[in-house]
Subunit: 574 residues, 2 copies
């Protein structure tokens, strides 16, 4: 096995052994693509989720919502998922095993994701691809398979067709009327959602990278496509980003530049996309990713999702190579328009006031009151309104005029005068555009673990350290009595109690086995700080603080400890 393969296995085994992340339902034989976050991992997940929420909500015009995961078919028909959320599957005629067609030809095509059934079938047969299960070369033609988990709602008539949501985004689109009302109709604004997404993978692989049920976090940011965005990108003037722009048929090459230059040179096609790329980069680095293992890759035109007008992947590098972890897409008006078409809702548009009203000449069919009044009496006003709002002028008489209440009346030639009038148009309704950063949290967490995992040696034995950022480490501190006697244990418990009473601080007590074993156990799950209580503590109240990353130690009073922890500044002591 390769060194890299051994390293992955060692990390995966640590994640399982220490209750971080492990395959789900294993006592029942397991299910590929489903994972549990255990007693240690669930805290890591929660902290990443909370950091993500804070990151966006602190912008001021972004709110969180929470929608159902069960989604009726009509919503996903409108969004395009029922027809287009597919992978191609190849079934072996000999052993009936099923594989993703694009995975079978990965070494024969640079972008197999973009091919259709026929192209995939051709490449499989031209290259004599063998079945990974049985070795035969007898394939059925690749066929598209929908990747949504189907279910049915209710009992009446066998129930109503539905799916587990493939993304959280549709929740924001279908509640757009509520979100717009919350912001009192003032674009731009955004809504986020943090929750489960589902994708019924044909053949899950690469561990946590390709799950069937995963933790998503998405922002849908609604903008007026005609608005001018003067986003200040100067915060990132000192950051060199790695970009792989759309090769447009040529080769992909990594270029390094400032984000503002990428926008100015039109590599990034929209200022809001550029801003969110930079914000996304900041978030990923703030939770502990290695900046040198982050790059942005632009989608090729034929690889873009069915709606996107500019789309970038934030890719992270790790044991599986470069992996897409965030997608930042300018979705245009695709989503809201699709739901408008499907539902005839009139609530999916925003109002744009013109800087000054536009004066127009227009033809109207004006009612002649002296005839319309006596003829229609109490309905005369409704008839007049209906005449005035006719888009096309009547060409023959009599004709049937539809009123607002659904009834109709017959209009004679003598009731109407067609004439030209002046009108003022103050604004217009339009479908907002959407820019969406969509995060796959499990993949990001995998890379935090991967980037932070160090296999080293101590006293001739393997020694494992997880260098997790303090911002996401499941426990900030561990409190260790040197021995569980002579009062050290009691002091340790007291200090732990004080620590966990501080907002956002988790600390655990560990008293069993040698102090070296306990440091090792804490290093393995990425605890940044170990506090040791020893005989000197009993004499003068000082404790030792050990830093995980370099295993250096200092001694301070335990009052100072509380102070430094509460201001999150232990690092300044070293």
């Amino acid at each position: 096995m390769s060194d890299e393969g051994e390293r992955v296995n060692s990390l995966v085994s640590l994640l399982k052994r220490r209750g971080i992340i492990f395959p789900a339902f294993s006592i029942h034989g397991g299910v590929a693509g489903l994972f549990d976050y255990g007693p240690v991992g669930a805290r890591l997940l929660r902290k990443v989720q909370n950091q993500w929420r804070e990151h966006w909500i602190s912008k001021g015009n972004i709110v969180e919502i929470d929608s159902p995961t069960i989604t009726p078919e009509s919503v996903l028909k409108a969004s395009g998922h029922v027809d287009a959320f597919n992978d191609h599957a190849s079934e072996c005629r000999s052993c009936n095993a099923i594989f993703r067609s694009d995975h079978l030809i990965e070494s024969h095509h640079t972008n197999p994701d973009s091919l259709d059934s026929e192209e995939l079938g051709m490449i499989i047969s031209n290259n004599g691809i063998k079945c990974p299960s049985c070795g035969e070369q007898q394939w059925h033609q690749p066929r598209p398979m929908n990747l949504m988990f189907p279910t049915r709602i209710g009992a009446t008539g066998g129930g109503r067709a539905a799916y587990m949501r493939p993304e959280t985004a549709q929740g924001m689109f279908v509640t757009f009327p509520m979100i717009q009302r919350h912001f009192r109709n003032r674009l731009p604004f955004g809504a986020i959602q943090v929750g489960k997404g589902y994708r019924n993978e044909i053949s899950p692989r690469q561990g946590m990278i390709r799950q069937r049920e995963f933790n998503m976090a998405e922002l849908e940011y609604f903008i007026d496509p005609e608005a001018v965005f003067e986003n200040d990108l100067s915060n990132w003037n000192d950051t060199r980003f790695q970009f792989i722009p759309d090769p447009k048929g040529g080769d992909s090459e990594t270029i390094e530049m400032m984000i503002s230059d990428a926008l100015d040179s039109n590599i990034i096609r929209h200022p809001v996309v550029a801003k969110f790329m930079a914000e996304t980069y900041d978030f990923i680095v703030s939770i502990g990713a290695d900046p040198s293992k982050i790059r942005f890759r632009q989608h090729e035109s034929d690889e873009m999702a069915h709606y996107a007008t500019d789309c970038w992947d934030l890719e992270m590098f790790g044991s599986y190579g470069w992996i897409e972890c965030v997608g930042i897409a300018h979705r245009g008006c695709y989503d809201l328009e699709a739901h408008e078409l499907a539902t005839n809702s009139n609530e999916l548009r925003a109002w744009r006031e013109f800087s000054k009203p536009i004066e127009v000449e227009k033809m109207v069919a004006s009612p002649i009151s002296s005839i319309v009044g006596p003829t229609f009496r109490e309905r005369a006003k409704d008839v007049g309104d209906a005449l005035m709002s006719l888009d096309e002028m009547p060409t023959s008489f009599p004709f049937n005029l539809l009123l607002d209440d659904g009834t109709s009346v017959s209009i004679e030639e003598n009731m109407v005068e067609v004439k030209q009038i002046h009108d003022m148009i103050r604004g217009e309704w339009f479908i907002p555009h959407v820019v969406e950063p969509a995060f796959g949290l499990d993949r990001i967490i995998w890379h935090l673990l991967d980037h932070g995992y160090e296999i080293t040696e101590k006293e001739g034995e393997e020694y494992l350290i997880l260098h997790l950022s303090e911002n996401v480490a499941p426990y900030e501190l561990v409190v260790l009595p040197l021995f569980e006697k002579d009062g050290m244990s009691e002091i340790a418990h007291q200090i732990r109690t004080k620590l966990i009473s501080l907002s956002g601080i988790n600390a655990y007590y560990d008293g069993s086995k040698s102090i070296g074993r306990r440091y090792a156990r804490a290093d393995e799950i990425g605890v940044p700080w170990a506090i040791t209580i020893d005989y000197t503590t009993i004499e003068d109240g000082t404790i030792t603080v050990r830093r995980r990353d370099d295993q250096s130690q200092i001694r301070i009073s335990h009052d100072d400890l509380i102070q430094y922890v509460s201001t999150n500044s232990l690092n300044t002591l070293f």
Copy 2:
């Protein structure tokens, strides 16, 4: 419509209008039993979830995990849900409408939940129950309908049967080996999970009370059934709880007593159940429920879930009457045993060390080395071990002896000597028992809203106030410039920025319409504090603080404001 009905409608309309909670997918026609938490409601949900987590995790021996919602059939077959998670449905022969059979006869039986198909059918026919849709009296016989949402995992062979989880609890049972390892095998310990649960209701009603997808929060607390729990209940000596004990065939009556008395008099049957009932009560009150609208009702024996040995509902009173919001069940060893039976896993037990080892006499089939050695050579040790661990002594020879590696050998009479020996048994493996508090968060949130909703009058007009606890209010503060001019707007933005930089504090800025309108908008969504910036602020830096609950106001410096908010002590000023 009744006053109560009007009040519910008014509250439901507020919840929708202000983006708190509303029926999901409404632009697509809606789906009964599915709801969205909107821009304001999602913060309420998050705060309730976080308070709940903190409440249990701070106990020290409880951890959070996060499991998949998609659950393979084998797990739910083992747990009993495939066979027993049913409601009875009655279908009308005339119009094909489907109803819950127990709902049809609610006014004809005190506990229709406990009846079987035949009993339900009898009561429906004896009482001439009419179809609520068409009025006819022609019913099919009630039949059990499984309430899980079905789905299929993967593509191979049509996929593998699975369901959306009906509870989060199974996640804790099937990961018990990991949880036990995390706690280094030291009972008692617990694991919590906060997430979605699914129940494919036959006919959802009562709005948020009966959802098809809902927010659950469950604790599974694992204990040694032989351990003695000396839980201190003296914290609750001043609290009178309302209990409705199992009537055992007689009438249900509410009694009021201390929790310790209920335990001592064996109304509550286990000390851990009593402790969790009290802790649950504390949680519900801490997030703002009205203590006079909380009671505990004990399940009757025939109503208890298929596993429970003592089960209490915490019921909350509101517009729909008394509603079960938390279930606190002693589940015995049912769950872990069920999974052990289904999987043969040997990891679902805990080890109990005897206080002193037990000396026993036992009969063994001891191998005679001089024969066994030469006969079986390198397998002699395995044969010897297998003989020594025989539970029953051989009665006839030769017999087939099964070895650990699955092979077997033939044993002759001259290879074995049956004799009595002394043995020391140091402990035993046992299946831990489980006590489970299971919370329906949406129902609890509904009751917080219901208890806090006040319809009052101001200047002759209806005035709405949501008295939400500061612990769960979506926004702690609103910052209001008296006018958006003369610098007041800038000061307001600065104060808001300072406020939201405080940990756990959310504040929004509102500048449009009259100050009275803005107070009203804030009162409607339960903002406890309104900060107003006026001309005096510009002169001397003081601001006014207005308290939602009594609309009283004081004036303090804005430095003091930050201080009081950061110590959560604004109330001490009034």
